[in-house]
Subunit: 296 residues, 2 copies
DNA sequence: TCTACATCATCAAATTGAGTGATGGGAAGT
DNA sequence: ACTTCCCATCACTCAATTTGATGATGTAGA
Protein backbone atom coordinates (compact mmCIF):
# COMPACT_ATOMS: atom_id res chain seq x y z
CA UNK A 1 0.00 0.00 0.00
CA UNK A 2 2.13 2.84 -1.27
CA UNK A 3 0.98 6.43 -1.28
CA UNK A 4 0.04 7.82 -4.68
CA UNK A 5 2.29 10.23 -6.49
CA UNK A 6 1.92 13.96 -6.15
CA UNK A 7 0.26 15.48 -9.19
CA UNK A 8 1.82 18.79 -8.35
CA UNK A 9 5.24 17.30 -8.76
CA UNK A 10 4.24 15.67 -12.01
CA UNK A 11 2.92 18.94 -13.29
CA UNK A 12 6.22 20.64 -12.62
CA UNK A 13 8.06 17.75 -14.15
CA UNK A 14 6.03 17.97 -17.35
CA UNK A 15 6.44 21.70 -17.50
CA UNK A 16 10.20 21.27 -17.41
CA UNK A 17 10.06 18.64 -20.10
CA UNK A 18 7.97 20.95 -22.23
CA UNK A 19 10.18 24.00 -22.06
CA UNK A 20 13.55 22.55 -21.15
CA UNK A 21 14.18 24.79 -18.19
CA UNK A 22 13.57 24.74 -14.48
CA UNK A 23 13.25 28.50 -14.19
CA UNK A 24 10.82 28.83 -17.04
CA UNK A 25 8.81 25.89 -15.78
CA UNK A 26 8.63 27.49 -12.36
CA UNK A 27 7.11 30.57 -13.94
CA UNK A 28 4.50 28.42 -15.64
CA UNK A 29 3.39 26.60 -12.55
CA UNK A 30 3.51 29.68 -10.35
CA UNK A 31 6.28 28.61 -8.08
CA UNK A 32 9.81 29.65 -7.38
CA UNK A 33 12.68 27.94 -9.12
CA UNK A 34 13.85 26.39 -5.89
CA UNK A 35 10.43 24.93 -5.20
CA UNK A 36 10.41 23.24 -8.58
CA UNK A 37 13.93 22.02 -8.08
CA UNK A 38 12.99 20.44 -4.79
CA UNK A 39 9.87 18.89 -6.25
CA UNK A 40 11.91 17.16 -8.89
CA UNK A 41 14.40 16.04 -6.32
CA UNK A 42 11.64 14.49 -4.26
CA UNK A 43 10.08 12.90 -7.30
CA UNK A 44 13.38 11.37 -8.33
CA UNK A 45 13.95 10.09 -4.83
CA UNK A 46 10.49 8.64 -4.75
CA UNK A 47 10.87 6.77 -8.01
CA UNK A 48 14.48 5.86 -7.47
CA UNK A 49 15.77 7.07 -10.81
CA UNK A 50 17.14 10.30 -12.23
CA UNK A 51 14.49 11.72 -14.52
CA UNK A 52 16.26 14.72 -15.96
CA UNK A 53 19.84 15.18 -17.07
CA UNK A 54 21.13 18.62 -16.28
CA UNK A 55 24.21 19.27 -18.33
CA UNK A 56 24.93 22.89 -17.94
CA UNK A 57 22.88 24.72 -20.47
CA UNK A 58 20.07 22.37 -21.31
CA UNK A 59 17.82 19.99 -19.47
CA UNK A 60 16.57 16.84 -21.10
CA UNK A 61 14.70 13.72 -20.18
CA UNK A 62 16.42 10.51 -19.25
CA UNK A 63 15.03 7.27 -20.56
CA UNK A 64 13.07 6.79 -17.36
CA UNK A 65 12.00 10.39 -17.64
CA UNK A 66 10.48 9.69 -21.01
CA UNK A 67 8.52 6.82 -19.60
CA UNK A 68 7.22 8.93 -16.78
CA UNK A 69 6.46 11.85 -19.02
CA UNK A 70 3.93 10.12 -21.20
CA UNK A 71 2.07 8.65 -18.24
CA UNK A 72 2.19 11.86 -16.30
CA UNK A 73 0.77 13.76 -19.22
CA UNK A 74 -2.04 11.27 -19.38
CA UNK A 75 -2.85 11.86 -15.75
CA UNK A 76 -2.69 15.60 -16.11
CA UNK A 77 -5.07 15.44 -19.03
CA UNK A 78 -7.60 13.53 -17.00
CA UNK A 79 -7.04 15.95 -14.17
CA UNK A 80 -7.80 18.88 -16.44
CA UNK A 81 -10.84 17.06 -17.75
CA UNK A 82 -12.20 16.70 -14.24
CA UNK A 83 -11.57 20.28 -13.29
CA UNK A 84 -13.09 21.43 -16.55
CA UNK A 85 -16.16 19.31 -15.93
CA UNK A 86 -16.73 20.66 -12.45
CA UNK A 87 -16.06 24.29 -13.17
CA UNK A 88 -19.62 25.33 -13.86
CA UNK A 89 -18.57 28.73 -15.01
CA UNK A 90 -18.58 28.30 -18.74
CA UNK A 91 -15.08 28.71 -19.97
CA UNK A 92 -14.71 31.81 -22.04
CA UNK A 93 -11.95 33.86 -23.53
CA UNK A 94 -9.84 33.78 -26.62
CA UNK A 95 -6.88 31.72 -27.65
CA UNK A 96 -4.25 32.68 -30.16
CA UNK A 97 -3.64 29.38 -31.85
CA UNK A 98 -1.13 28.47 -34.52
CA UNK A 99 -0.94 25.44 -36.80
CA UNK A 100 1.33 24.43 -39.63
CA UNK A 101 -0.46 25.22 -42.86
CA UNK A 102 0.15 21.82 -44.40
CA UNK A 103 -1.48 20.08 -41.57
CA UNK A 104 -4.10 22.65 -40.87
CA UNK A 105 -6.01 22.40 -44.06
CA UNK A 106 -7.13 18.87 -43.52
CA UNK A 107 -7.70 18.36 -39.88
CA UNK A 108 -8.27 21.71 -38.41
CA UNK A 109 -11.80 22.64 -39.44
CA UNK A 110 -13.11 19.36 -38.14
CA UNK A 111 -11.38 19.62 -34.81
CA UNK A 112 -12.17 23.23 -34.19
CA UNK A 113 -15.79 22.91 -35.12
CA UNK A 114 -16.32 20.08 -32.65
CA UNK A 115 -14.50 22.15 -30.07
CA UNK A 116 -16.77 25.11 -30.66
CA UNK A 117 -19.74 22.90 -30.07
CA UNK A 118 -18.65 22.07 -26.55
CA UNK A 119 -17.01 25.40 -25.73
CA UNK A 120 -19.06 28.00 -27.48
CA UNK A 121 -17.63 30.90 -25.54
CA UNK A 122 -14.03 30.31 -26.39
CA UNK A 123 -12.88 32.20 -29.43
CA UNK A 124 -10.00 30.60 -31.25
CA UNK A 125 -7.91 32.84 -33.47
CA UNK A 126 -6.18 30.56 -35.90
CA UNK A 127 -2.99 31.38 -37.71
CA UNK A 128 -1.49 29.07 -40.32
CA UNK A 129 2.19 29.09 -41.14
CA UNK A 130 5.26 26.91 -41.21
CA UNK A 131 6.38 25.28 -37.98
CA UNK A 132 9.54 27.36 -37.84
CA UNK A 133 7.60 30.57 -37.95
CA UNK A 134 5.16 29.27 -35.39
CA UNK A 135 7.99 28.57 -32.98
CA UNK A 136 9.44 31.99 -33.60
CA UNK A 137 6.05 33.55 -32.99
CA UNK A 138 5.71 31.57 -29.80
CA UNK A 139 9.06 32.85 -28.60
CA UNK A 140 7.92 36.37 -29.34
CA UNK A 141 4.72 35.85 -27.40
CA UNK A 142 2.37 36.09 -30.35
CA UNK A 143 0.72 32.74 -29.64
CA UNK A 144 -0.83 31.01 -26.67
CA UNK A 145 -0.77 27.56 -28.15
CA UNK A 146 0.69 26.04 -31.28
CA UNK A 147 0.78 22.71 -33.00
CA UNK A 148 4.07 22.15 -34.76
CA UNK A 149 6.29 19.55 -36.32
CA UNK A 150 9.04 18.53 -34.01
CA UNK A 151 12.47 18.52 -35.62
CA UNK A 152 15.82 17.51 -34.27
CA UNK A 153 16.47 21.05 -33.10
CA UNK A 154 13.23 21.36 -31.20
CA UNK A 155 12.94 18.67 -28.67
CA UNK A 156 10.53 20.38 -26.40
CA UNK A 157 6.79 20.37 -26.56
CA UNK A 158 4.06 17.87 -25.85
CA UNK A 159 4.44 15.16 -28.45
CA UNK A 160 1.05 13.67 -29.14
CA UNK A 161 1.04 12.22 -32.62
CA UNK A 162 3.35 10.60 -35.10
CA UNK A 163 2.69 10.00 -38.75
CA UNK A 164 4.36 7.96 -41.39
CA UNK A 165 6.02 10.08 -44.06
CA UNK A 166 5.67 8.96 -47.64
CA UNK A 167 7.31 9.77 -50.92
CA UNK A 168 4.58 10.70 -53.34
CA UNK A 169 4.36 11.16 -57.07
CA UNK A 170 1.53 11.67 -59.49
CA UNK A 171 -0.18 8.62 -60.85
CA UNK A 172 1.48 7.55 -64.06
CA UNK A 173 3.81 10.55 -64.08
CA UNK A 174 7.37 10.81 -65.34
CA UNK A 175 8.93 12.76 -62.51
CA UNK A 176 9.90 9.66 -60.59
CA UNK A 177 11.91 8.19 -63.43
CA UNK A 178 13.69 11.42 -64.30
CA UNK A 179 17.34 11.74 -63.32
CA UNK A 180 18.16 13.75 -61.34
CA UNK A 181 14.82 13.45 -59.66
CA UNK A 182 12.92 16.72 -59.36
CA UNK A 183 11.80 17.44 -55.83
CA UNK A 184 9.05 19.70 -54.53
CA UNK A 185 9.36 20.90 -50.97
CA UNK A 186 9.04 23.75 -48.54
CA UNK A 187 11.57 26.52 -47.94
CA UNK A 188 15.02 25.74 -46.58
CA UNK A 189 13.84 26.10 -43.02
CA UNK A 190 11.33 23.29 -43.52
CA UNK A 191 12.08 20.48 -41.13
CA UNK A 192 10.94 17.74 -43.45
CA UNK A 193 13.02 19.14 -46.27
CA UNK A 194 16.20 18.95 -44.25
CA UNK A 195 15.43 15.44 -43.26
CA UNK A 196 14.52 14.33 -46.76
CA UNK A 197 17.57 15.84 -48.42
CA UNK A 198 19.72 14.35 -45.70
CA UNK A 199 18.60 10.80 -46.33
CA UNK A 200 18.80 11.33 -50.09
CA UNK A 201 22.37 12.54 -49.80
CA UNK A 202 23.24 9.65 -47.58
CA UNK A 203 21.94 7.08 -50.06
CA UNK A 204 23.54 8.87 -52.99
CA UNK A 205 20.32 9.32 -54.91
CA UNK A 206 20.52 12.15 -57.46
CA UNK A 207 17.94 14.87 -57.08
CA UNK A 208 17.38 18.55 -57.58
CA UNK A 209 15.03 20.91 -55.87
CA UNK A 210 12.63 21.69 -58.65
CA UNK A 211 9.90 23.47 -56.81
CA UNK A 212 9.82 25.42 -53.59
CA UNK A 213 6.92 27.01 -51.82
CA UNK A 214 5.97 27.79 -48.29
CA UNK A 215 2.44 27.01 -49.26
CA UNK A 216 1.58 23.38 -48.78
CA UNK A 217 -1.21 23.18 -51.33
CA UNK A 218 1.14 24.57 -53.94
CA UNK A 219 3.45 21.66 -53.29
CA UNK A 220 0.64 19.17 -53.54
CA UNK A 221 -0.33 20.69 -56.86
CA UNK A 222 3.23 20.39 -58.11
CA UNK A 223 3.19 16.70 -57.28
CA UNK A 224 -0.23 16.09 -58.75
CA UNK A 225 0.70 17.82 -61.98
CA UNK A 226 3.83 15.69 -62.26
CA UNK A 227 6.20 18.62 -61.87
CA UNK A 228 8.07 16.90 -59.10
CA UNK A 229 8.20 14.20 -56.46
CA UNK A 230 7.21 15.21 -52.95
CA UNK A 231 7.06 13.85 -49.43
CA UNK A 232 4.05 14.13 -47.20
CA UNK A 233 2.70 12.82 -43.94
CA UNK A 234 0.07 10.13 -44.27
CA UNK A 235 -2.91 12.28 -43.53
CA UNK A 236 -1.94 14.85 -46.14
CA UNK A 237 -2.15 12.34 -48.96
CA UNK A 238 -4.70 13.15 -51.60
CA UNK A 239 -6.52 11.24 -54.29
CA UNK A 240 -4.44 11.20 -57.45
CA UNK A 241 -1.23 10.76 -55.52
CA UNK A 242 0.81 7.64 -55.68
CA UNK A 243 2.76 6.51 -52.67
CA UNK A 244 6.23 5.36 -53.68
CA UNK A 245 7.85 2.58 -51.69
CA UNK A 246 11.48 1.61 -51.84
CA UNK A 247 11.22 0.45 -55.44
CA UNK A 248 12.81 3.57 -56.93
CA UNK A 249 15.72 3.57 -54.55
CA UNK A 250 14.10 6.15 -52.33
CA UNK A 251 15.15 5.85 -48.70
CA UNK A 252 12.75 5.41 -45.85
CA UNK A 253 11.70 8.62 -44.15
CA UNK A 254 11.40 9.05 -40.42
CA UNK A 255 8.00 9.56 -38.94
CA UNK A 256 6.71 13.07 -38.55
CA UNK A 257 6.39 14.12 -34.94
CA UNK A 258 3.50 16.40 -34.18
CA UNK A 259 3.67 18.28 -30.90
CA UNK A 260 1.95 20.96 -28.94
CA UNK A 261 3.60 23.95 -27.36
CA UNK A 262 2.21 26.47 -24.92
CA UNK A 263 3.15 29.96 -23.87
CA UNK A 264 4.25 30.45 -20.28
CA UNK A 265 0.80 31.52 -19.21
CA UNK A 266 -1.18 29.03 -21.25
CA UNK A 267 -1.99 26.49 -18.59
CA UNK A 268 -5.30 25.51 -17.09
CA UNK A 269 -8.76 26.73 -18.01
CA UNK A 270 -9.42 27.42 -21.65
CA UNK A 271 -5.93 26.45 -22.72
CA UNK A 272 -6.16 23.01 -21.20
CA UNK A 273 -9.59 22.68 -22.73
CA UNK A 274 -8.30 23.26 -26.23
CA UNK A 275 -5.06 21.36 -25.72
CA UNK A 276 -6.87 18.34 -24.36
CA UNK A 277 -9.38 18.46 -27.14
CA UNK A 278 -6.66 18.44 -29.75
CA UNK A 279 -4.74 15.66 -28.12
CA UNK A 280 -7.75 13.47 -27.60
CA UNK A 281 -9.03 13.99 -31.14
CA UNK A 282 -5.75 13.78 -33.00
CA UNK A 283 -3.42 11.99 -30.65
CA UNK A 284 -2.34 8.51 -31.60
CA UNK A 285 0.35 7.77 -29.06
CA UNK A 286 -1.86 6.41 -26.34
CA UNK A 287 -0.82 2.82 -26.71
CA UNK A 288 -2.56 0.66 -24.20
CA UNK A 289 -2.86 -3.09 -24.29
CA UNK A 290 -6.12 -4.21 -25.81
CA UNK A 291 -7.98 -7.44 -25.48
CA UNK A 292 -6.51 -8.62 -28.75
CA UNK A 293 -2.96 -7.99 -27.60
CA UNK A 294 -3.62 -9.70 -24.33
CA UNK A 295 -4.78 -12.67 -26.35
CA UNK A 296 -1.23 -12.89 -27.67
CA UNK B 1 -3.74 28.17 -13.67
CA UNK B 2 -5.41 26.06 -11.04
CA UNK B 3 -3.54 23.62 -8.87
CA UNK B 4 -4.02 19.98 -9.78
CA UNK B 5 -6.19 17.73 -7.68
CA UNK B 6 -4.79 15.68 -4.85
CA UNK B 7 -4.42 12.04 -5.82
CA UNK B 8 -4.49 11.09 -2.19
CA UNK B 9 -7.98 12.51 -1.88
CA UNK B 10 -9.07 10.75 -5.02
CA UNK B 11 -7.71 7.49 -3.73
CA UNK B 12 -9.74 7.80 -0.56
CA UNK B 13 -12.76 8.79 -2.57
CA UNK B 14 -12.49 5.72 -4.76
CA UNK B 15 -11.93 3.48 -1.80
CA UNK B 16 -15.19 4.71 -0.30
CA UNK B 17 -16.99 4.21 -3.56
CA UNK B 18 -15.63 0.67 -3.73
CA UNK B 19 -16.62 -0.45 -0.28
CA UNK B 20 -19.43 1.92 0.64
CA UNK B 21 -18.00 2.99 3.94
CA UNK B 22 -15.75 5.71 5.26
CA UNK B 23 -14.34 3.63 8.07
CA UNK B 24 -13.55 0.65 5.92
CA UNK B 25 -12.04 2.90 3.27
CA UNK B 26 -9.87 4.51 5.91
CA UNK B 27 -8.52 1.12 6.83
CA UNK B 28 -7.68 0.44 3.21
CA UNK B 29 -5.76 3.62 2.64
CA UNK B 30 -4.03 3.53 6.02
CA UNK B 31 -5.57 6.58 7.50
CA UNK B 32 -7.92 7.39 10.32
CA UNK B 33 -11.61 7.73 9.64
CA UNK B 34 -11.58 11.41 10.37
CA UNK B 35 -8.73 12.01 7.96
CA UNK B 36 -10.73 10.39 5.19
CA UNK B 37 -13.79 12.36 6.17
CA UNK B 38 -11.84 15.59 5.96
CA UNK B 39 -10.31 14.65 2.65
CA UNK B 40 -13.70 14.11 1.14
CA UNK B 41 -14.92 17.35 2.59
CA UNK B 42 -12.04 19.21 1.01
CA UNK B 43 -12.51 17.41 -2.27
CA UNK B 44 -16.18 18.33 -2.34
CA UNK B 45 -15.35 21.92 -1.51
CA UNK B 46 -12.74 22.01 -4.20
CA UNK B 47 -15.05 20.72 -6.89
CA UNK B 48 -18.09 22.54 -5.66
CA UNK B 49 -20.44 19.57 -5.58
CA UNK B 50 -21.45 16.91 -3.09
CA UNK B 51 -19.91 13.66 -4.25
CA UNK B 52 -21.31 11.20 -1.77
CA UNK B 53 -24.75 10.93 -0.22
CA UNK B 54 -24.60 9.76 3.37
CA UNK B 55 -27.95 8.50 4.46
CA UNK B 56 -27.44 6.76 7.69
CA UNK B 57 -26.30 3.28 6.97
CA UNK B 58 -25.02 3.42 3.45
CA UNK B 59 -22.89 5.76 1.44
CA UNK B 60 -23.43 6.09 -2.28
CA UNK B 61 -22.22 8.19 -5.14
CA UNK B 62 -24.06 11.24 -6.38
CA UNK B 63 -24.31 11.82 -10.09
CA UNK B 64 -21.29 14.07 -9.96
CA UNK B 65 -19.60 11.47 -7.84
CA UNK B 66 -20.07 8.92 -10.59
CA UNK B 67 -18.48 11.24 -13.09
CA UNK B 68 -15.53 11.82 -10.83
CA UNK B 69 -15.18 8.17 -9.96
CA UNK B 70 -14.53 6.92 -13.45
CA UNK B 71 -11.93 9.59 -14.14
CA UNK B 72 -10.30 9.18 -10.78
CA UNK B 73 -9.98 5.47 -11.31
CA UNK B 74 -8.34 6.14 -14.61
CA UNK B 75 -5.79 8.35 -12.93
CA UNK B 76 -5.14 5.89 -10.17
CA UNK B 77 -4.56 3.16 -12.71
CA UNK B 78 -1.94 5.22 -14.46
CA UNK B 79 -0.47 6.07 -11.09
CA UNK B 80 -0.16 2.40 -10.22
CA UNK B 81 1.32 1.73 -13.63
CA UNK B 82 4.03 4.29 -13.00
CA UNK B 83 4.84 3.02 -9.55
CA UNK B 84 4.88 -0.52 -10.83
CA UNK B 85 7.24 0.44 -13.61
CA UNK B 86 9.68 2.13 -11.31
CA UNK B 87 9.69 -0.42 -8.56
CA UNK B 88 12.63 -2.45 -9.80
CA UNK B 89 12.11 -5.11 -7.20
CA UNK B 90 10.30 -7.71 -9.23
CA UNK B 91 6.86 -8.03 -7.85
CA UNK B 92 6.35 -11.39 -6.25
CA UNK B 93 3.84 -13.06 -4.03
CA UNK B 94 0.59 -14.84 -4.47
CA UNK B 95 -2.92 -13.64 -5.07
CA UNK B 96 -6.09 -15.51 -4.21
CA UNK B 97 -8.22 -14.65 -7.15
CA UNK B 98 -11.83 -15.52 -7.83
CA UNK B 99 -13.83 -15.41 -11.05
CA UNK B 100 -17.35 -16.41 -11.98
CA UNK B 101 -17.13 -19.77 -13.71
CA UNK B 102 -19.24 -18.78 -16.66
CA UNK B 103 -16.97 -15.97 -17.51
CA UNK B 104 -13.78 -17.60 -16.50
CA UNK B 105 -13.75 -20.36 -19.03
CA UNK B 106 -13.45 -18.09 -22.00
CA UNK B 107 -11.39 -15.14 -21.04
CA UNK B 108 -9.35 -16.18 -18.11
CA UNK B 109 -6.65 -18.38 -19.57
CA UNK B 110 -5.75 -15.72 -22.08
CA UNK B 111 -5.57 -12.95 -19.56
CA UNK B 112 -3.69 -14.85 -16.94
CA UNK B 113 -1.16 -16.23 -19.33
CA UNK B 114 -0.27 -12.79 -20.61
CA UNK B 115 -0.05 -11.64 -17.02
CA UNK B 116 2.34 -14.42 -16.14
CA UNK B 117 4.56 -13.35 -18.97
CA UNK B 118 5.07 -9.91 -17.50
CA UNK B 119 4.95 -10.90 -13.84
CA UNK B 120 6.49 -14.29 -13.63
CA UNK B 121 6.95 -14.20 -9.89
CA UNK B 122 3.36 -13.61 -8.98
CA UNK B 123 1.43 -16.78 -8.35
CA UNK B 124 -2.27 -16.48 -9.02
CA UNK B 125 -4.51 -19.01 -7.29
CA UNK B 126 -7.68 -19.07 -9.28
CA UNK B 127 -11.02 -20.17 -7.93
CA UNK B 128 -14.10 -20.41 -10.13
CA UNK B 129 -17.59 -20.16 -8.71
CA UNK B 130 -20.74 -18.12 -8.94
CA UNK B 131 -20.59 -14.41 -8.19
CA UNK B 132 -22.67 -14.80 -5.06
CA UNK B 133 -20.26 -17.27 -3.59
CA UNK B 134 -17.33 -15.13 -4.60
CA UNK B 135 -18.77 -12.20 -2.71
CA UNK B 136 -19.41 -14.35 0.28
CA UNK B 137 -15.86 -15.67 0.13
CA UNK B 138 -14.58 -12.14 -0.11
CA UNK B 139 -16.51 -11.16 2.98
CA UNK B 140 -15.01 -14.12 4.77
CA UNK B 141 -11.52 -13.10 3.72
CA UNK B 142 -10.88 -16.07 1.47
CA UNK B 143 -9.99 -13.92 -1.56
CA UNK B 144 -7.73 -11.01 -2.26
CA UNK B 145 -9.36 -10.04 -5.52
CA UNK B 146 -12.45 -11.16 -7.37
CA UNK B 147 -14.19 -10.46 -10.61
CA UNK B 148 -17.94 -10.66 -10.24
CA UNK B 149 -21.21 -9.74 -11.85
CA UNK B 150 -22.71 -6.71 -10.28
CA UNK B 151 -26.37 -7.13 -9.40
CA UNK B 152 -28.83 -4.70 -7.92
CA UNK B 153 -27.90 -5.79 -4.42
CA UNK B 154 -24.20 -5.27 -4.90
CA UNK B 155 -23.49 -1.78 -5.95
CA UNK B 156 -19.94 -1.62 -4.81
CA UNK B 157 -16.84 -2.63 -6.64
CA UNK B 158 -14.84 -1.28 -9.54
CA UNK B 159 -17.08 -1.57 -12.57
CA UNK B 160 -14.91 -2.02 -15.64
CA UNK B 161 -16.91 -3.83 -18.28
CA UNK B 162 -20.45 -4.19 -19.51
CA UNK B 163 -21.75 -6.78 -21.89
CA UNK B 164 -24.92 -7.19 -23.84
CA UNK B 165 -27.02 -10.11 -22.61
CA UNK B 166 -28.67 -12.27 -25.21
CA UNK B 167 -31.37 -14.87 -25.27
CA UNK B 168 -29.95 -17.93 -26.94
CA UNK B 169 -31.39 -21.12 -28.36
CA UNK B 170 -29.99 -23.94 -30.41
CA UNK B 171 -29.94 -23.55 -34.15
CA UNK B 172 -33.14 -24.97 -35.59
CA UNK B 173 -34.35 -26.23 -32.22
CA UNK B 174 -37.88 -26.51 -30.91
CA UNK B 175 -37.38 -25.16 -27.42
CA UNK B 176 -38.09 -21.59 -28.45
CA UNK B 177 -41.50 -22.38 -29.86
CA UNK B 178 -42.59 -24.58 -26.97
CA UNK B 179 -45.16 -23.14 -24.57
CA UNK B 180 -44.41 -22.63 -21.75
CA UNK B 181 -40.86 -21.96 -22.82
CA UNK B 182 -38.26 -24.15 -21.11
CA UNK B 183 -35.49 -22.16 -19.52
CA UNK B 184 -31.98 -23.15 -18.52
CA UNK B 185 -30.30 -21.09 -15.88
CA UNK B 186 -28.16 -21.00 -12.80
CA UNK B 187 -29.31 -21.60 -9.24
CA UNK B 188 -31.78 -19.26 -7.57
CA UNK B 189 -29.05 -17.05 -6.27
CA UNK B 190 -27.86 -16.35 -9.82
CA UNK B 191 -28.10 -12.65 -10.51
CA UNK B 192 -28.95 -13.07 -14.16
CA UNK B 193 -31.63 -15.58 -13.35
CA UNK B 194 -33.44 -13.16 -11.10
CA UNK B 195 -33.24 -10.47 -13.68
CA UNK B 196 -34.37 -12.71 -16.52
CA UNK B 197 -37.36 -14.16 -14.68
CA UNK B 198 -38.29 -10.66 -13.56
CA UNK B 199 -38.54 -9.30 -17.07
CA UNK B 200 -40.32 -12.44 -18.26
CA UNK B 201 -42.90 -12.08 -15.52
CA UNK B 202 -43.37 -8.43 -16.33
CA UNK B 203 -44.06 -9.13 -19.99
CA UNK B 204 -46.33 -12.05 -19.17
CA UNK B 205 -44.38 -14.57 -21.21
CA UNK B 206 -45.02 -18.14 -20.12
CA UNK B 207 -41.97 -20.09 -19.11
CA UNK B 208 -40.78 -22.81 -16.81
CA UNK B 209 -37.37 -23.49 -15.36
CA UNK B 210 -36.44 -26.66 -17.15
CA UNK B 211 -32.83 -26.96 -16.28
CA UNK B 212 -30.76 -25.69 -13.42
CA UNK B 213 -27.07 -26.00 -12.79
CA UNK B 214 -24.42 -23.99 -11.08
CA UNK B 215 -22.08 -25.12 -13.78
CA UNK B 216 -22.05 -22.77 -16.74
CA UNK B 217 -20.92 -25.27 -19.32
CA UNK B 218 -23.77 -27.53 -18.33
CA UNK B 219 -26.17 -24.74 -19.15
CA UNK B 220 -24.53 -24.09 -22.48
CA UNK B 221 -24.88 -27.77 -23.27
CA UNK B 222 -28.55 -27.70 -22.37
CA UNK B 223 -29.07 -24.88 -24.81
CA UNK B 224 -27.01 -26.45 -27.56
CA UNK B 225 -28.88 -29.73 -27.25
CA UNK B 226 -32.20 -27.91 -27.52
CA UNK B 227 -33.27 -28.81 -24.00
CA UNK B 228 -34.01 -25.22 -23.16
CA UNK B 229 -33.58 -21.55 -23.97
CA UNK B 230 -30.87 -19.71 -22.10
CA UNK B 231 -29.42 -16.21 -21.65
CA UNK B 232 -25.76 -15.40 -21.85
CA UNK B 233 -23.44 -12.44 -22.05
CA UNK B 234 -22.07 -11.73 -25.48
CA UNK B 235 -18.65 -13.17 -24.93
CA UNK B 236 -20.02 -16.47 -23.68
CA UNK B 237 -21.79 -17.17 -26.95
CA UNK B 238 -20.65 -20.30 -28.73
CA UNK B 239 -20.86 -21.65 -32.23
CA UNK B 240 -24.10 -23.53 -32.68
CA UNK B 241 -26.04 -21.03 -30.62
CA UNK B 242 -28.63 -18.79 -32.12
CA UNK B 243 -29.18 -15.34 -30.68
CA UNK B 244 -32.88 -14.63 -30.36
CA UNK B 245 -34.02 -11.06 -30.83
CA UNK B 246 -37.41 -9.70 -29.89
CA UNK B 247 -39.16 -11.81 -32.50
CA UNK B 248 -40.42 -14.45 -30.08
CA UNK B 249 -41.76 -11.93 -27.63
CA UNK B 250 -38.70 -12.16 -25.43
CA UNK B 251 -38.00 -8.95 -23.53
CA UNK B 252 -34.74 -7.09 -23.73
CA UNK B 253 -32.24 -7.95 -21.04
CA UNK B 254 -30.14 -5.42 -19.21
CA UNK B 255 -26.44 -5.39 -19.78
CA UNK B 256 -24.25 -7.50 -17.55
CA UNK B 257 -22.02 -5.42 -15.31
CA UNK B 258 -18.64 -6.90 -14.61
CA UNK B 259 -16.78 -5.47 -11.67
CA UNK B 260 -13.71 -6.00 -9.58
CA UNK B 261 -13.59 -6.19 -5.81
CA UNK B 262 -10.62 -6.19 -3.49
CA UNK B 263 -10.05 -7.22 0.06
CA UNK B 264 -9.14 -4.50 2.53
CA UNK B 265 -5.48 -5.21 2.19
CA UNK B 266 -5.39 -5.76 -1.55
CA UNK B 267 -4.09 -2.40 -2.67
CA UNK B 268 -0.84 -1.49 -4.34
CA UNK B 269 1.94 -3.77 -5.46
CA UNK B 270 0.97 -7.13 -6.87
CA UNK B 271 -2.73 -6.50 -6.41
CA UNK B 272 -2.70 -3.36 -8.47
CA UNK B 273 -0.60 -5.15 -11.03
CA UNK B 274 -3.20 -7.84 -11.53
CA UNK B 275 -6.17 -5.53 -11.19
CA UNK B 276 -4.77 -3.12 -13.74
CA UNK B 277 -3.94 -5.91 -16.08
CA UNK B 278 -7.45 -7.22 -15.94
CA UNK B 279 -9.02 -3.84 -16.41
CA UNK B 280 -6.80 -2.87 -19.28
CA UNK B 281 -7.24 -6.18 -21.07
CA UNK B 282 -10.96 -6.69 -20.50
CA UNK B 283 -12.25 -3.24 -19.69
CA UNK B 284 -14.51 -1.62 -22.24
CA UNK B 285 -15.77 1.42 -20.40
CA UNK B 286 -12.98 3.77 -21.27
CA UNK B 287 -14.95 5.95 -23.60
CA UNK B 288 -12.83 8.70 -24.96
CA UNK B 289 -13.52 10.82 -28.02
CA UNK B 290 -11.75 9.51 -31.08
CA UNK B 291 -10.81 11.20 -34.28
CA UNK B 292 -13.86 9.79 -35.95
CA UNK B 293 -16.18 11.21 -33.32
CA UNK B 294 -14.50 14.55 -33.49
CA UNK B 295 -15.13 14.47 -37.21
CA UNK B 296 -18.84 14.42 -36.41
C1' DT C 1 -39.71 2.42 23.37
C1' DC C 2 -35.26 2.25 25.11
C1' DT C 3 -30.42 0.77 24.90
C1' DA C 4 -26.20 -0.50 22.59
C1' DC C 5 -23.55 -0.07 18.68
C1' DA C 6 -21.73 1.64 14.55
C1' DT C 7 -21.01 5.37 11.46
C1' DC C 8 -19.79 9.98 10.02
C1' DA C 9 -18.86 15.10 11.18
C1' DT C 10 -16.43 18.33 13.78
C1' DC C 11 -13.04 20.49 16.69
C1' DA C 12 -8.52 22.14 18.56
C1' DA C 13 -3.86 20.80 18.88
C1' DA C 14 0.19 19.00 16.99
C1' DT C 15 3.08 17.66 13.40
C1' DT C 16 4.44 17.25 9.07
C1' DG C 17 6.08 18.97 5.05
C1' DA C 18 6.36 22.09 1.29
C1' DG C 19 7.49 26.88 -0.36
C1' DT C 20 10.41 31.02 0.08
C1' DG C 21 14.45 33.86 -0.69
C1' DA C 22 19.19 34.00 -0.28
C1' DT C 23 23.45 31.84 -1.34
C1' DG C 24 26.81 28.92 -3.68
C1' DG C 25 28.78 26.27 -7.55
C1' DG C 26 29.26 25.14 -12.39
C1' DA C 27 28.97 25.71 -17.32
C1' DA C 28 28.71 28.60 -21.45
C1' DG C 29 29.63 32.64 -23.81
C1' DT C 30 32.50 37.02 -24.41
C1' DA D 1 39.31 35.82 -16.85
C1' DC D 2 34.95 37.69 -16.27
C1' DT D 3 30.19 37.89 -16.69
C1' DT D 4 25.90 35.66 -17.03
C1' DC D 5 22.66 32.26 -16.65
C1' DC D 6 20.95 28.32 -14.43
C1' DC D 7 20.31 24.73 -11.04
C1' DA D 8 21.15 22.88 -6.11
C1' DT D 9 21.07 23.69 -1.36
C1' DC D 10 20.02 25.63 3.18
C1' DA D 11 17.57 27.46 7.22
C1' DC D 12 13.37 29.48 8.16
C1' DT D 13 8.52 30.28 7.93
C1' DC D 14 4.07 29.16 7.46
C1' DA D 15 0.25 26.54 5.83
C1' DA D 16 -2.20 22.43 5.47
C1' DT D 17 -3.28 17.84 7.07
C1' DT D 18 -3.50 14.28 10.41
C1' DT D 19 -4.75 13.00 14.88
C1' DG D 20 -7.54 11.62 18.73
C1' DA D 21 -11.39 12.89 21.22
C1' DT D 22 -16.08 14.14 21.15
C1' DG D 23 -20.67 14.83 19.48
C1' DA D 24 -24.57 13.79 16.38
C1' DT D 25 -27.30 10.67 13.87
C1' DG D 26 -29.18 6.40 12.51
C1' DT D 27 -29.85 1.29 12.95
C1' DA D 28 -30.70 -3.04 15.20
C1' DG D 29 -32.28 -5.73 18.89
C1' DA D 30 -34.79 -6.45 23.19
Amino acid sequence: MTAPLDLDQLQSFCAIADCGSFTEAARRVNKTQSAVSMQIKRLEERLGYPLLTRDGRSVSLTQQGEVLYSRARKMLRVNAEIIDHFSNTDLSGSIRFGVPDDYAVRLLPVILSSFQRTHAKIAVDVACMASEQLLEGMRAGRFDLIVFTQGTNHNFGELFRTEKMHWVASHGGQALATDPMPLACGPTCCIWRQEATDVLNRTGKDYRIAYTSSNATAISSAVLSDLAVGFLPESALQPGMRVVGTEYGLPKLNDAQIALMRGSHAYGGIYDALANHIVSSMGNLDSRPTMAEAAE
